[in-house]
């Protein structure tokens, strides 16, 4: 089963000076308040974060629900906005796979793949023995996921007390956290180029297609960075 030493080591990595708790908390408080405002009850809001746990997908769900989109349209819109989870999984899981570990752990814990948990694992995996990386990952995932669920509840309950300026303040926290984590991850030519080109091409492609800009810009930027890094 799960090695508890590594699991708790992972779980504990959500506190401390590089903690994602505040950033995750701020954005899921905003989600909790948003879900309440569009008519979800508390149980449904908890259920939503429990099962989805990926911020942009939940936002798209809320928008689509408000305009009364069909289920198939909601499926496609969410799938498109969360398609980034595919390259994120493929660039993380091979680092954690060990033949002595049961496969259910990978199929269960991939649910925890979201930007914050992913960035933490990417910055720490080298310090963990390969066999136990999956247990460490399950700890990080459980910790960040529980913060998200708790914050959704808090956001739902305090939504009446949040004014517009406070909501705007909450909304900037996540981009700030991600930006700092990404700047901290810039340690090789390929990664540096990927991040800088992605940040430039993503917004540029917004003028071509707002819906596809992140995927188009991201894939193009990553591919250029890959070739420059391989053949320099």
């Amino acid at each position: 089963m799960v090695n508890s030493k590594y699991f708790f080591q992972g779980l504990k990595s959500v506190k401390g000076l590089d903690s994602p708790a505040f950033a995750l908390g701020a954005s899921f408080i905003a989600i909790g308040a948003l879900l309440k405002n569009i008519g979800f009850n508390l149980e449904q809001s908890i259920f939503s974060t429990f099962l989805t746990y990926a911020l942009p997908g939940s936002l798209v769900m809320a928008e689509s629900f408000l305009v009364g989109a069909s289920l198939i349209n909601i499926f496609l819109a969410v799938w498109l906005v969360n398609a980034r989870l595919y390259p994120m999984t493929v660039s993380l899981m091979p680092l954690l796979i060990h033949k002595k570990q049961p496969r259910w752990k990978y199929y269960l814990s991939c649910h925890f793949i979201a930007v914050s948990a992913w960035l933490i694992m990417k910055s720490k995996y080298q310090t963990i023995e390969k066999k136990y990386r999956i247990d460490f990952w399950m700890g990080i995932g459980t910790g960040t996921w529980l913060i998200a669920i708790t914050s959704t509840i808090v956001g739902f309950l305090i939504s009446d007390y949040l004014n517009k300026d406070m909501m705007i303040g909450l909304a900037i926290v996540n981009p700030v956290y991600f930006t700092c984590m990404m700047v901290g991850a810039m340690k090789s030519l390929q990664i540096n180029l990927s991040i800088i080109l992605g940040a430039i091409l993503g917004p540029l492609f917004f003028f071509v297609s707002p819906e596809w800009s992140v995927l188009y810009g991201g894939v193009l930027a990553g591919t250029i960075a890959y070739f420059v890094g391989e053949f320099k």
């Binding site: 000076l17 950033a23 905003a30 008519g39 009850n41 259920f47 939503s48 099962l51 989805t52 997908g57 798209v60 769900m61 289920l71 909601i74 499926f75 969410v78 799938w79 989870l85 994120m88 999984t89 493929v90 899981m93 091979p94 796979i97 199929y107 991939c110 793949i113 930007v115 960035l119 517009k164 406070m166 705007i168 303040g169 909304a171 900037i172 926290v173 996540n174 956290y177 930006t179 700092c180 700047v183 390929q190 990664i191 990927s194 991040i195 992605g198 091409l201 993503g202 917004p203 492609f205 917004f206 707002p210 992140v214 995927l215 991201g218 930027a221 990553g222 591919t223 890959y226 890094g229």
Partner: protein, 110 residues
Amino acid sequence: MSELSSNIILVILVTSLATYLSRFLGVVSSEKIDVTSKLFRWFNCIAYSILAALIARIVIFPAGVLEEAELWVRLIVILISIFIFFITKKNLVYPTVLSAILLSLLNSYL
């Protein structure tokens, strides 16, 4: 169960399935990908650049309440936060907490 609440449950289930799909397919592919391969390095670049593109999009073309703050205000808050991140030896608590306070204040007094 009323029609509305069964609708909400369906919407949540569809959203979570659409989200889990990419994670699930990612694990299926991961079983065949070696960490020393070129394919892995390419996916690694793409993952980082998609995240950078996503964050840049959220800051420059935001969808929700962030729209209400001016673009230059959002960019200044991000730059100040990166600066704080470096002078505090890569502490992530200070820049995140201060960014929320700073943006709330700038937005209500400008």
